[in-house]
Amino acid sequence: MDWKRNLEELSMGEELPPLIKKMTQEKITTYVSAAEDYNPIHVDVEFAKQTPFGGTIAPGYQYMAYISELMVREFGEGWFFGGTLDLRLNRVVRPGDWLVTRAKVVEKKEEQGKRIAVCEVRITNQNGEDVIVGTATARCR
């Protein structure tokens, strides 16, 4: 693993290798149990059926973590120290959804001696719909 990415190695418009994952009720239940955040919309099938969603949905925090995973993989230390993440959650994720997490380099800049890569990040579902869109930045050398 490269612990800090060299900004020169990144090209404008470069697509970083995506992450592909399938959401399952089992993963939702495991996550919710770790977080101890028992909102019934995530785990109570009967309750969730009565809501406008018609079934359980995954916590936003759960799949938001996929973006952080991708940024750790690509930027290492530069994500832990100086990373930023701005996200908008557009769509819910249900058990059975396939999610593709992407990051595209859209800007390379230097601010107060810090070298920064700016990435457009997004998670799309199996229908090509945006689930999350946003911006992530990481420090580089």
Partner: protein
């Protein structure tokens, strides 16, 4: 799974005001919680649980994933010390995180939060909650801004 008893009166949008400080909370991402969290998000990076691997990294030992602070910075966790509960149906609209340091598994983190803003847009009620997270050394390791849509 056993559902947790939801206690207290519901905190409504009208009960919340800009500048309102929420009680400081502390949270420990134990190794067991971390293991379960990583399983839930399907992240196999050895940096988090493999001491031998992490020792050779710039971090010197295992760390928790930066975004795992989201486990403790949930709206319900932040509201719980008020003795109130959030109405069912709360949704997350926007989030911002800034990462400025690391925390280790089993370290106790302190989280200070306040209501930075509240507003209504297109008939929806938004609340902006800013939280700062400190490790045991007192370093601020992260700041988050959660923007949930309040149900009522």
């Amino acid at each position: 799974m056993q559902m947790k008893e939801r206690e207290g009166k519901e905190i409504l949008f009208d009960d919340i005001f800009k500048g309102m400080e929420l009680p400081e909370i502390s949270y420990t991402v134990t190794t067991d919680i971390l293991r379960q969290y990583l399983e839930g998000i399907d992240d196999l990076n050895p940096l988090y649980l493999d001491e031998d691997y992490a020792r050779k990294s710039p971090f010197g030992s295992t760390v928790i994933p930066p975004i795992s602070i989201a486990i403790c910075i949930t709206v319900s966790n932040l509201i719980k010390p008020l003795g109130m509960k959030i109405p069912p149906g709360l949704l997350h609209a926007m989030q911002r995180y800034e990462f400025t340091g690391v925390a280790r598994p089993d370290e106790t983190l302190r989280i200070r939060s306040l209501i930075e803003d509240k507003f209504e847009k297109k008939g929806r009620k938004f609340v902006v909650i800013k939280s700062e997270v400190f490790n045991p050394k007192g370093d601020r390791i992260a700041t988050s801004w959660l923007t949930p849509i309040w149900p009522r």
